[in-house]
């Protein structure tokens, strides 16, 4: 029997082999190995407009990661850590073999350098992928780092997996209610470099219309078929279906196209739309061109593929009519069979294609230019390598991808180990988050084992941002040519052949109508008698290794639908399952033993056909048993490890199946904010901000996956003794009471790092920045005391205590505008651009790095660390979505104590539990206590946990504790016994990165904005706290007018302006003349001081700038003599 332990061995073997970011590595490897060359081959050769000259493009190759230093020496190899420290890009030079053909004479092929390609860490072309742990440590890497990201300008970037609707598929749906279109089939064709959509619509009158990009209007279906070379009504009908009921539905369409009966006519008809009013030949030619290029281009762009396109179109029409006849349901866009994931390799390929095209274009231009000047061709001088380098680097640095996608590459989240892994396995949907898209956000049945059911953000992105489940793998994609040939070898009758057979009377209509339609990657390839048999034969071929194991096949059979779908394309999410035959799983205990002995691996079992990967489509044919005991005769597969339906983050939750499901979702979000050991090389790294927990512990209550994902080596939290009671009441509203003495002893202490860095830039005109102590004359000089901590070289020394405002790196820059330079002496014109410690922060200088960028500029990085001892208001959470801030720190003497003198670390309010229903947390408390009592950790893997509750309870009782983990406690303040018993157990608590020290803020007076003279906003700018509209409403409501004026005017932007009593314009006091001055009446008037808000003065001036003349009519504040004050 495949018991839990045996199946766990499979999981361990799987992860040992694949690691946790296999999908990115596979994809990028494929890009480097195949796609890169394909893109070059697509181009093939460059033919500039120079007679007799041709350039043949040959092999492309990416070298090891290197950097070209500014002094123009040869490129030298770099390590990832060097790239991170020196703000370099971890990229390898790309070399392309080029052959010049001049007047049919081929020159010697030469390899030229065409640009740099950022290298994914741990991919095949990354040298660190083959290094041992010792070697990795030597070059400053964390030996457990999974890779899968890039280093661009020193920062780590992930290309986030993009989820898209599958391309090249026919998707049918109902038309919008009320519209003329009743049913619609949509096809998105993806050809190298571009995508076009084709719409096939059935209108109310029963006609079917086709429309596609670059041809305006709708084209009748029959016309389109004729244009593609299927001319007669009979052929069209047979192409669509052999079923008379479906053929009948074609009458309106055929009738509509009665007048256009030949291929030429049809082409001319289409040509009419594109090349209006041109000659018939031109129109036909234009129509042919357009069809080849823009109609279903994924099938090919040559005239030979037109027939293929016709049959594809016919199949789409058949599907559409089936939908109309109610023979099938509209396609489920949320079914994972209809989704494809685009990974780093894919996205890099589309980026590289565009960059390479630009490169070729530039090269052509350079060639032509140099030929015109009559120079001899020396390619290496003409090649501009920065085109490819910069385009790729820019896209990766900003996340703006080709096709106007944003946020594709993101800064790798290094809060803790889990957040990093989760980020590398994130999947983002292309759907706009602004729209509701309710169905797309819902958990779909086909996401089982593919996407984590818990891990998704709350709010606008809910359900659109997903995370891969543990065992999910993404197909890389293989060429379908071979598979197509194999299909025909198996006896699939090609469409054309079938039609001929019927026409010639060799096959009868009825039997052909009952045949299964065979689709390969959405393309209709032919008919086969018994679909189920074909599917099984393909599966057998795959299991025996005769077909690539990436091939998946599904036989979809309903009352009317009979289709076989064979898929080989990339981006399908697949998951491994044990194959079951005749009620017996093929993986035997012997196999497991061999794996344990190291004689076999997971891969071998896949090769032997004992384990196979299913995509969502093939899974529709599978009958999967969750447990070996559930296997029946019909069972086709056995689940390897049901808990693997969870993603990485949700996998660390103990007893998740006992929690209310949203709690697990909250926990999945919070685990990514916990402080811990985020990377073993943190002391070498220069992350812009980072935290680390001083004494992280591995949880007493474990889940099995923790070992596999490395959580136990890079934990983010500590085991705390939790009591559930109210006590003092300072833990109400989800607050927690922390034992101050435990905090004194080092519990949850952490260090916060922030990086400050600056570069000595060089400017055009020979000027440059200078790092050093600024001279007192420089503009923006802060005063001597701020520079006190600098050494002679203008940089602070390590282990110096610094506080907000202190200069860490002194720097002066040349003036921004040359004009300033002329007016002042050289020294005065210099600007002080020193780097200072952020306002409100303090700490100790931890690390100072002085190095050089690739451009040869001096680069200084200063890392400041700050000790963070838990204090009132710091945020903590358990692994069950129970978060709370510290409400009180109580001394050990004040805390409750048990009869054994044990004092809890944390007191949680019991009100946190009933409405949240996190039973898992109570179980964790029990299990944690059990673990502490018996001295070994507990396995709390969902469904498979052991020991079970009863066993733990018994053990507790035997060790002198109450079996329900409660204890008799005494109040530490009075010594009185607390009534009843109190639950006291060990729960893994995490310190989250929201800390009071980062947020605490108050202001009495401080800086104002230049424009409005109102107080600045935000803590970083020492800002005021906004007295907003609603607060204003309150004061109005109270009638507290003086207070209102005090808040909104006196303590904000109060100003005095001088208003001319004659014209009402704002004047000013001229100090030189010692006179009040009106812009109109000059000094021949009286100006009165008026107190207004500065924003109001600004408004007046803004109005003036628009050509409006606002005037202030003055009156007495308190009218004298009973007037209304308006004189």
């Amino acid at each position: 029997m495949l018991n839990v332990e045996n199946r766990w061995t499979l999981i361990e073997s799987y992860f040992k082999e694949n690691g946790l970011v296999r999908q990115h590595l596979d994809s990028f490897d494929d890009f480097v190995r195949n796609k890169l060359q394909q893109i070059v081959d697509e181009q093939g050769e460059i033919t500039p407009e120079i007679p007799g000259l041709k350039i043949k493009l040959g092999k492309i190759r990416v070298d090891r990661p290197k950097v070209r230093e500014a002094d123009r020496g040869p490129a030298v190899e770099i390590t990832p850590m060097e790239a991170r420290l020196r703000n370099l890009t971890y990229a390898g030079p790309i070399y392309l073999t080029i052959t010049i053909i001049e007047n049919n004479i081929e020159s010697e092929p030469t390899e030229i350098y065409i640009g740099d390609l950022p290298i994914m860490l741990k991919s095949v072309i990354d040298p660190t992928s083959t290094m041992s742990a010792e070697e990795l440590i030597k070059i400053g890497e964390d030996p457990k780092d999974p890779g899968g990201y890039f280093i661009i300008n020193g920062t780590e970037k992930v290309i986030v997996t993009q989820e898209d609707l599958a391309v090249n598929r026919i998707l049918v749906d109902y038309g919008k209610p009320g519209a003329n279109v009743t049913h619609v089939a949509k096809i998105t064709s993806a050809a190298p470099g571009y995508r076009v959509q084709t719409l096939i619509e059935r209108e109310k009158d029963g006609t079917i219309q086709v429309s596609f990009a670059s041809v305006p209007g709708k084209i009748p279906f029959a016309v389109m078929m004729r244009a593609l070379g299927v001319v007669t009504d009979r052929d069209i009908a047979f192409a669509v279906s052999f079923d008379p009921t479906i053929q009948n539905e074609l009458y309106p369409s055929l009738e509509q196209a009665r007048a256009i009966s030949t291929m030429e006519d049809a082409l001319a008809f289409i040509g009419d739309r594109i090349a209006i009013g041109q000659k018939r030949e031109n129109r036909i030619h234009k129509a042919e061109q357009t069809i080849d290029r823009y109609f279903l281009p994924h099938l090919g762009t040559t005239p030979e593929t037109r027939k293929l396109k016709a049959y594809y179109l016919a199949a789409a029409v058949a599907k559409l009519i089936e939908l109309y006849l109610g023979r099938r349901e509209p396609d489920d866009k949320d079914h994972y069979a209809n989704k494809r994931l685009r990974l780093a390799g894919d996205l890099m390929a589309s980026l590289f294609r565009v960059a390479f095209k630009a490169f070729v274009k530039d090269l052509t231009y350079q060639l032509e230019k140099s030929k015109v000047r009559g120079r001899k061709l020396t390619l290496s001088n003409l090649v501009r390598s920065d085109i490819i380098t910069e385009r790729i680097r820019h896209a990766l640095a900003t996340g703006n991808w080709v096709g106007n996608k944003t946020g594709v590459s993101q800064l790798l989240d290094r809060t803790n180990w889990l957040s990093m892994l989760s980020h590398l396995r994130r999947v983002v949907s292309s759907l706009a988050r602004g729209q509701p898209n309710f169905e797309a956000r819902d958990l779909h049945g086909t996401q089982w084992g593919r996407m984590c059911p818990f891990e998704t953000p709350e709010g606008p992105n809910s359900g659109l941002v997903k995370n891969l489940a543990l065992m999910a793998q993404i197909s890389v994609g293989i060429d379908d040519k071979e598979v197509e040939e194999e299909l025909f070898r198996l006896g699939v009758i090609p469409v054309e052949e079938a039609i001929t057979q019927v026409v010639e009377g060799r096959a009868d209509l009825e039997s052909l109508a009952s045949y299964a339609k065979v689709f390969l990657n959405g393309k209709f390839v032919g008919y086969y008698k018994d679909g189920a048999e074909l599917a099984n034969r393909i599966r057998e071929l795959r299991r025996s290794g005769q077909l690539n194991d990436e091939v998946n096949v599904a036989h979809i059979r309903t009352e009317f639908v009979n289709e076989v779908h064979v898929n080989t394309d990339g981006g399908r999410v697949r998951r491994p399952l044990i194959v079951v035959k005749n009620g017996e799983p093929l993986v035997t205990e012997e196999d497991i033993d061999n794996i344990r002995k190291g004689e076999k691996t997971f891969k071998d079992l896949v090769k032997e056909g004992k384990i196979e990967f299913l995509d969502a489509e093939e899974e529709e044919n599978a009958y999967i048993a969750l447990e070996p005991k559930d296997i029946t005769e019909e069972t086709t597969h056995l689940e390897i490890w049901p808990p693997a339906i969870l993603g990485i983050v949700a996998s660390i939750i103990p007893y998740p199946e006992h929690n209310q499901s949203p709690r697990n979702t909250y926990q999945s979000a919070m685990a990514k904010q916990a402080l811990g050991l985020y990377a073993a090389n943190f002391q070498l790294r220069t992350d812009s901000r980072a935290h680390f927990l001083h004494y992280p512990q591995k949880p007493l209550v474990q889940t099995r996956i923790m070992d596999v994902i490395g959580y136990n080596d890079r934990p983010a939290g500590a085991n705390a003794l939790m009591a559930v009671m109210t006590y003092t009441g300072y833990n109400m509203e989800d607050a927690i009471i922390l034992n101050k003495s435990s905090v004194d002893r080092g519990m949850y202490r952490s260090t916060f790092f922030r990086l400050y860095s600056t570069e000595e830039l060089k400017y055009p005109g020979g000027q440059e920045d200078k790092i050093g102590i600024p001279e007192p004359g420089a503009r923006g000089y802060k005063g001597k005391e701020y520079y006190e901590r600098l050494e002679d070289n203008g940089i602070v020394a390590p282990e110096v205590e610094v506080k907000g405002g202190d200069v860490l790196i002194g720097k002066v820059s040349p003036p921004r505008f040359l004009q300033e330079f002329k007016e002042l002496t050289a020294e005065q014109a210099k600007r002080d651009t020193s780097v200072t410690l952020r306002y409100g922060e303090s700490g100790t200088v931890d690390l100072v790095v002085v190095t050089q960028t690739a451009e040869g500029n001096k680069l200084v990085k200063v890392r400041v660390r700050d000790l963070r001892i838990p204090e009132l208001g710091d945020k903590f959470a358990t692994r069950h979505g129970q978060k709370g801030v510290v409400g009180m720190l109580l001394h050990e003497a004040d805390m409750p104590y048990t009869v054994d003198g044990i004092v809890p670390d944390i007191i949680l309010n019991p009100h946190a539990l009933p409405s949240r229903m996190t039973v898992g947390q109570l179980l964790e408390a029990l299990a944690g206590k059990y673990a502490a009592v018996v001295g070994k950790s507990v396995d709390a893997t969902p469904w498979y946990y052991s020991p079970k509750e009863d066993e733990m309870k018994k053990a507790l009782l035997e060790h002198g504790y109450l079996s329900n983990a409660a204890e008799v406690v005494y109040d530490g303040r009075t010594g009185q016994k607390v009534k009843g018993t109190i639950l006291l157990g060990i729960v893994y608590y995490m310190k989250l990165h929201h800390m009071v020290a980062d947020k605490i803020h108050a202001r009495a007076r401080g800086p104002v904005q230049i424009l409005t003279r109102q107080p600045t906003e935000g803590r970083a700018r020492e800002g005021g706290l906004r007295f907003g509209e609603m607060e204003r409403d309150c004061l109005i409501g109270f009638g507290a007018a003086s207070l209102l004026k005090d808040r909104l005017l006196d303590n904000s932007d109060k100003t005095v302006i001088y208003v001319c009593s004659q014209c009402g314009y704002v004047g000013y006091f001229d100090r030189k003349k010692n006179k009040y001055w009106c812009p109109i009446h000059e000094d021949k008037t009286v100006l009165y001081p008026v107190t207004v808000s500065y924003a109001f003065k600004l408004l007046l001036q803004e109005l003036m700038s628009m050509g409006i003349s606002p005037r202030l009519i003055l009156g007495d504040k308190v009218p004298i003599g009973g007037g209304d004050g308006n004189e």
């Binding site: 101050k740 080092g746 260090t751 282990e799 504790y961 079996s963 204890e967 005494y970 010594g975 009185q976």
Partner: protein, 263 residues
């Protein structure tokens, strides 16, 4: 008002106290934690530290090391008698350790601490402080002083300080189940009958009452308490109790003096 000894050894002390108010006993218990003077590292001068631990972490770890304070109580002044760097307030320990390149990583233990005062030394020499890799070294000077637990947990002399009610277990009717559920094995079963064997071990959890109802009666004896201490090793339990009471008495003395002045 009798006080009986329940148990006593180097580190633990158990008393049964009769006739004293709970408030007083708890005051003593709290005084044990909060107001017993103990020696601990309070200031650290780091001369060199390129170990993986930051200065503040190293200092914290040194602070947590328990030092034998038994003799120190008579030698050094109490915190309230010291304001600055007066004599007889502090003593020093030194730590110098270097791992030469080529050597394997070495743990620095408390036994590597050199004390100025031979009577003030870590209670165990095997407490790890920091792991030094090759080429790393630590050189520091740490100042110790007497302090009270109320300032910082490093000055707390006990790991356990408990005052609990003295239990009384009565069996009205036979109920074997009580023996099964009792976590502290208070009952003994012989011939299918239970009898109270370890009454003092009863923690008043009333589990037995839950299953047996009226058949057993669990009550706390009025004005009789069990007082238990476990020292961390810095002071002998009896010293702790004596010092705690001394501190308490001094506070009372001070209070009464202040009241006396009021007239």
């Amino acid at each position: 008002m009798p006080v009986y000894l329940r148990f006593s050894d180097d580190n633990r002390l158990g008393l049964i106290v009769e006739g004293y108010l709970l408030a007083l006993l708890n005051a003593i218990r709290r005084s044990v934690i909060l107001y017993t003077p103990v020696m601990a590292v309070d200031e650290v001068y780091i001369i060199e530290n390129n170990s993986p631990l930051y200065d503040e972490m190293l200092a914290h770890r040194l602070g947590m090391v328990p030092f034998d304070s038994e003799e120190a109580l008579t030698k050094y002044k109490r915190p309230e008698e010291c304001s600055g760097d007066e004599r007889d307030c502090t003593t020093k320990v030194y730590l110098v350790k270097k791992v030469e390149s080529g050597e394997s990583p070495t743990w620095v233990y408390t036994k590597d601490l050199k004390s100025d005062d031979p009577e003030v030394k870590p209670i165990s020499g095997d407490i790890p402080i920091v792991l030094l890799a090759q080429g790393q070294s630590v050189s520091l000077e740490a100042k110790l002083r007497l302090g009270y637990g109320i300032e910082h947990a490093k000055f707390i002399p006990v790991s356990v300080a408990v005052v609990r009610y003295y239990p009384k277990v009565e069996i009205a009717e036979d109920c074997v189940k009580a023996a099964e559920v009792c976590p502290r094995k208070v009952f003994e079963v012989s011939d299918e009958k239970i009898k109270v064997a370890n009454e003092e071990d009863c923690i008043l959890c009333e589990e037995c009452v839950k299953v047996c109802g009226e058949k057993v009666r669990i009550t706390a004896v009025e004005n009789k308490y069990i007082f238990e201490l476990e020292s961390t090793g810095v002071l002998r339990p009896k010293t702790i109790l004596r010092e705690a009471i001394k501190s308490l008495r001094r506070k009372l003395q001070e209070f009464s003096e202040k009241v006396g002045v009021l007239s």
